[in-house]
Symmetry: C2
Subunit: 492 residues, 2 copies
């Protein structure tokens, strides 16, 4: 690829100047249109050391309104970042709707360095490529414009530039050991870069290789690609995205109406088992902590089904330094203006920790679907997006357990009435609960579809029969313990 990069000959400098002016002017106009159309633009600058990424980036943003863009330098992952999935820090950086985000180096640098220094094997490389492809596709599917630039210079040119930089004290700091190593191993690096770009060159997020020998010409190539890309993205507002076939192995699940809700447990059995299971969980949590296994527990269920009480029985068994409970309400404006999974990507546990979600990313295919908070295309696409999200977590090594806390309509009515009539419980019941109850049948249909389409073998749903809350608590603890024991056995 690098060998066949953009070979449009460099124009005369007068022409470059003229075209640069036009492009900068257009970009300033586009920034307002981006804001009006809520278009997020994510720009990745990659390339050879000393190829001038930073300089050109500085020129690109010079006429932009600083309220609407951020430029971030990405370095080698810190120890804390290494305790999160590979994609987490890039997902965290996605721009808000209507804004620019510029990354000076990013997932290409991280992966290619890992290859060059033999830190990952072929299979991990392949998995990373898969992650990148899904990440980029999921962004564009959700209306993001993603642009990738690779700044290309020759070995000789790079050597010359590094030398010049090192000659002066003011600029020598810009050169690090890796830059020198890269120049010494230019051909080897070139092959790895080529392969990476070939592996991640898609029609929606293609690579743009920039001839970076001349600064102004490089700037013009970037500016014109940027401007053309934004124009296209502005025109394609509200694109309907093709649905992708499910490729993940699914468990066959019953429909809610076929779930037997008569299951109960005696008070005595409950007490004995609860104590026993909590002790067991505490012990297993310690082992999981030592082995660095992250645990993600997702709770969904009907209003008044007993999610809160169920979660309490789990957390009661855990060392408070080793878990976090995330109550998920409707998204805040800064969350709403990003990819629907962003607020979950940024709430992942560290390795060895529990993250318990009280309501989850499944809101997309339940409340957001039924209340029209997203388009039909959005929620239809979300099943696959969620399966992919959980696959990333599972590949990272996470244990994922998803609970649907289930009751019948009569039980809900009894609990609602009880709440309404008991002063100290009244805060628990709102008008919205009653409105949701009116839509029970629609919700049931949506939940059936959700469970059928997202109960993957690596992140299965478990239905907790919670007409008897105690039965449901014991069942949840047993399922958790089973899942953790299995993971511990596999990770010897």
């Amino acid at each position: 690829m690098i060998e066949t990069y953009n070979s449009i000959p460099k124009p005369e400098s007068d022409e470059i100047k003229q075209r640069l002016e036009a492009a900068h002017q257009r970009l300033a106009e586009q920034q307002l249109l981006m804001k009006d159309n809520k278009l997020p633009v994510f720009v990745l600058f990659e390339g050879w050391g000393a190829a001038g990424k930073g300089t050109v980036l500085g020129r690109v943003i010079k006429d932009l309104d600083p309220r609407f863009f951020t430029a971030v330098s990405i370095h080698d992952p810190s120890p804390a970042e290494k305790r999160k999935p590979f994609l987490a820090r890039y997902f965290a950086e996605i721009p808000e709707a209507g804004q620019f985000k510029f990354l000076d180096a990013g997932w290409m640098t991280e992966i290619t360095k890992d290859v060059l220094f033999d830190r990952i094997n072929k299979q991990t490389y392949k998995n990373r490529i898969g992650s990148v492809l899904r990440f980029e596709r999921s962004l564009t599917d959700n209306g993001y414009l993603v642009l990738k630039f690779f700044f290309h210079i020759s070995k000789k040119e790079q050597a010359k530039r590094l030398e010049t930089l090192m000659e002066s004290k003011e600029t020598a700091w810009q050169v690090d050991d890796y830059d020198i190593w890269e120049n010494e191993h230019y051909d080897e690096c070139g092959k790895v870069f080529d392969k990476f770009m070939e592996d991640t060159n898609t029609s929606t997020v293609p690579w743009n290789v920039i001839d970076a020998k001349s600064r102004k010409w490089a700037e013009l190539q970037v500016m014109e690609t940027l401007v053309a890309g934004i124009d296209v993205a502005l025109k394609n507002h509200n694109l309907t995205v093709p649905l992708i076939q499910n490729i993940f192995p699914l468990n066959r699940m019953p429909k809610l109406k076929d779930v037997d809700l008569k299951k109960t447990i005696s008070e005595e059995d409950y007490k004995v088992q609860l104590k026993e299971l909590q002790e067991k969980l505490e012990n297993i949590h310690n082992q999981a902590y030592l082995k660095g296994i992250p645990i993600i527990i997702a709770y969904e269920g009907w209003d008044a089904a007993g999610k809160g009480g169920n979660i309490k029985r789990v957390t009661a068994a855990l060392d408070p330094r080793g878990y976090e409970v995330h109550p998920i309400a409707s998204p805040k404006p800064f969350e709403k203006s990003r990819h629907h999974l962003w607020r979950f990507w940024t709430r992942l546990p560290k390795t060895g920790h529990f993250a318990i979600f009280d309501c989850t990313w499944y809101g997309r295919v339940m409340v957001e679907r039924l209340e029209g908070f997203c388009s039909e295309n959005d929620w239809q696409r979300a099943y696959n997006e969620i399966n992919e999200f959980e696959k990333e977590l599972s590949d990272w090594g996470a244990v994922i357990v998803k609970f649907w806390v289930h009751i019948d309509k009569d039980t809900q009515l009894a609990r609602f009435t009880d709440r309404q009539n008991t002063p100290e419980k009244q805060w628990k019941i709102t008008d919205e609960d009653w409105r949701n109850r009116d839509k029970w049948d629609l919700y049931e249909q949506a939940v059936d579809e959700m469970i059928a389409k997202t109960s993957t073998t690596y992140a299965p749903w478990h239905i907790l029969e919670s007409n008897d809350k105690k039965y449901a608590r014991i069942k949840a603890l047993k399922i958790l313990i089973d899942a953790l024991e299995k993971a511990l056995k596999e990770k010897k």
Copy 2:
């Protein structure tokens, strides 16, 4: 991929029946919408032998209006087809706007068989994959919906079905040697199929692997994917397509205003050289014929620049059985309703033959651009589409020579006036010629851009200074001879 194919569990037969009915009804409605929206739908059925492709295809089309679909079986290429580029017979089959085309087997079968029987090496495989990716992308970029199905059954199931088919005389003909071989080499085939699907699985044209164990369930998967795909495509009418960076090596070309049109040749030199060069060309044509090199000559130029006379001096040297001249006028309705390159893909020479185009596929970026016959996005995209088209031809082994026959505005006026005033030449001049002349400056700008962006090293433009037509003729012959000699030398 096959291992992780669509694992949504098969529904109960009642549900299948109900959903099938709904899908067939929707498809019948969609057919009318496709017609209204001029949406072409290209459906590829691939899969294991005896997996039931044909049967399901028969069910899919049962409620369709036969005026608006065609179903074609693709077999191993014939000797005549082998004398065309790999993609030519698939490009020839693309549907018209508003119509369905169903292919029973296609480019996947051809390529994977070639791999399985060691008929192509790794590099050719890679080139084929590149061709397929560009083909599919170019179709979707031009508003086609392309859907690919792979019918999957297990080795055991396939063996059972082949046996059943062979048991009866009425069905035994359906089983060929390849089917039996495929079953015997099931695992080997599976690997090759997997790799092919992985290599050609894109977000715009993904593979849909169909669990084909049950006929009705297979039919439902195909129908629902088809219906969902058409719904999305209908919504995305008039999509603006991102422009792709040029990755082809370009020659630096002068602007038209900088071309020296004062070049001339004396009458005497002309006569001597013409004879000499034509003899040489005749001889070289014979050699090219023997070596099976196809030659494609593209003529574009100003009205009255002397294209016709120039072409005559070339053809005069050729054996009439070995060349064809294609005069290209504005597209007929059946051509207009297909991809803009379709009428050129179907006019390619056989190996060893000349195809001379009097006006070409460059109409897209000249007259169609300036007269608004296509959208801005269409013609902007066309530079790359054309470079890719010519790359296919070049990779196939074709020599491609493109002439811009150039004169200045005054010379054109003189020739127009002469035509108008000479009764036997009056047919050569129309009102349209005068109207085009009024747009000279716009055309010049478009031609400059076209020459700059499509003068690839493998299909270069040559500017023929044709104020002196004779000079231009001699130059054209020399360029042709040079290009052919070079190709002959390389193909020893």
